[in-house]
Symmetry: C2
């Protein structure tokens, strides 16, 4: 197993990325190819005693966070994210992990590996810690302006992912809207609803923002703008709440005693809110494995994203998804 990691992508690249790669090597026994500028990476590598199982793959360029994704990827042929997917294309790596410009990661994946059959627009899926079960939210940022047909495809891809990778049978799918009533929601959602209703998917109708945390449905479909706002909002809320809880408890003697006694259950509570545990969001619909991480990822988040990428590869995720996509397409259009 060899995971190509975009060493130039992320707010704290390459330092944090290199550290995450080291954690993956030592804790998970995965080989890593760090893709990026030799000098910058070598400097980071020099602070570690041994770099076994880590290979450096030099490239000259990198896509910056503020660049227009598609344009940058097309222009910069030697950008780290493009080179990383190139390694997968040539069979020199099994998957890509990047904390860089997510639009550029998407563009590089499509340009280099292509899309799976039946997929017009690959999308980012994020796994939320629902109260009853994990909830897959798709899309969380790959596609900001979507047509209803794209939303439907996101549902099909998430169905395939949830069935084949997460092992959930016949997952319930909801469309993220602003009310369960049929007349509510914007034009895009109203039209997508009809497509889902005509399909063989286990579509339950509209769901609301609160359902991302209940786990009543396993899949929630929305456009990448709404999904990204939801993702960032819940990350921010989790952080603020954890800090606020600690501050309140630390502000009194009784509270500090409470913090001491309750350290284990409080720790479990904190871990539930911990988005780093998921590491990153899988890019669904590309002909390969790519995991997109938060720009501000910690080394631990990078390590967990590498772990997710390796699991995806080991599970034969892409083949399973191809099979699911074919079977759903056949069923949907046969009806």
């Amino acid at each position: 197993m060899n995971v190509a990691v975009d060493a130039m992508g992320g707010d704290h690249a390459p330092g944090v990325i290199v550290r995450g790669a080291f954690l993956a090597v030592s804790e998970l026994g995965i080989d890593i190819t760090l893709v990026g500028h030799e000098e910058a990476i070598a400097e980071e590598l020099s602070s570690y005693r041994s770099a076994d199982h880590i290979t450096l793959h030099h490239c000259e360029e990198a896509v910056q966070m503020d660049e227009a994704p598609l344009k940058a990827v097309r222009k910069k042929k030697d950008a780290s994210i493009r080179v990383a997917f190139g390694l997968v294309k040539r069979g020199e790596a099994d998957a890509v992990v990047s904390a860089g410009n997510s639009g550029a990661t998407l563009a590089a994946a499509v340009l280099t590996l292509g899309r799976l059959k039946g997929v017009d627009r690959p999308a980012l899926a994020s796994i939320f810690p629902g109260e009853k079960a994990p909830v897959v939210l798709i899309d969380v940022g790959a596609n900001v302006d979507c047509r209803p047909a794209h939303l439907f495809q996101f549902g099909v891809m998430a169905h395939a992912f949830t069935t084949s990778i997460l092992g959930v049978e016949n997952p319930k799918i909801g469309l993220l809207s602003i009310g369960e009533e049929r007349s509510k929601g914007n034009e895009q959602v109203r039209l997508a609803r009809e497509l889902f209703k005509e399909s063989k998917l286990n579509f339950v109708g509209n769901v609301e923002g609160r359902d991302i945390f209940t786990g009543d449905v396993e899949i929630i479909v929305c456009d990448g703008f709404v999904g990204n706002v939801a993702l960032k909002l819940s990350e921010g809320m989790g952080e603020v709440m954890t800090k606020s809880l600690q501050r309140e408890l630390m502000s009194s003697l009784m509270g500090r005693a409470s913090l001491l006694l309750g350290s284990r259950p409080l720790g479990r509570f904190k871990r539930k809110l911990d988005y780093e545990a998921y590491g990153g969001a899988p890019l669904l619909g590309i002909n390969g494995v790519g995991i997109v991480c938060h720009g501000g990822s910690t080394p631990r988040a990078i390590k967990n994203a590498i772990k997710l990428a390796a699991q995806y590869v080991r599970d034969g995720g892409v083949d399973k998804m191809t099979g699911e996509l074919n079977s759903i397409e056949a069923e949907t259009f046969a009806s």
Copy 2:
């Protein structure tokens, strides 16, 4: 002070609404006019010993949650929400509170009271408990398909509200998007950004979902679809997290001891997440005062919404907003 309360609106109407009205009368000393079907309300009223300061205003109809708002309000001339705003129009009440169909509340407000000068589309503002300061999110559900010019007007209205009612000088305004970088965001947001930049408002650029909780900006502008998803998501996340914290602490002896010792700081933490404290969202841009409550509001939430309505009236909120709108319009178009 007399607040007209739509007794037929909400998931648990009229029972919960009547109970909320009683709380408002006894705790706040506000007179209430309950608008709705006499029989249904009288039955609820009969379980209370005294109905002092509560008037019943009969009407035959009500707008249901699943009706198309504008159509329903136009057709049902005797619907409770329309009759309630009619009371304000005739000077028989000072404000309206409703937990019913929010689109119908908006439509009835515009139809009956009209819009303030310079406002094309009234919008719903919700006050979030930011880490540093409260954050006003606008729109949270009144307008699902918006043009860039509408987003700009939401910003102007929120500026007026935050300045005149919350007393914040020169509040910072951000546009909710999916990245701080200029190239990110959908078409609607990219165009709205230009309008804000050309104005005299204290516009800081794009903000992300996480900023709803930091309080780095005082106002966050988005369309009503995204805003409503954000509102419902944070409500749901707050509930799930509070339950999860309690469950974790109750699961062990040490945790239960911790819960006992930390009851006061934990209570303060819980209140911070308590959306009922805000009661409802003010409808900005109408020529009067209307507060929209969550369909699933508790009696306490209804009471707090009545309190907010009364404060808005006492502060002369509508006059102050008219003044602010005029001065911003003059400034913006003079530049």
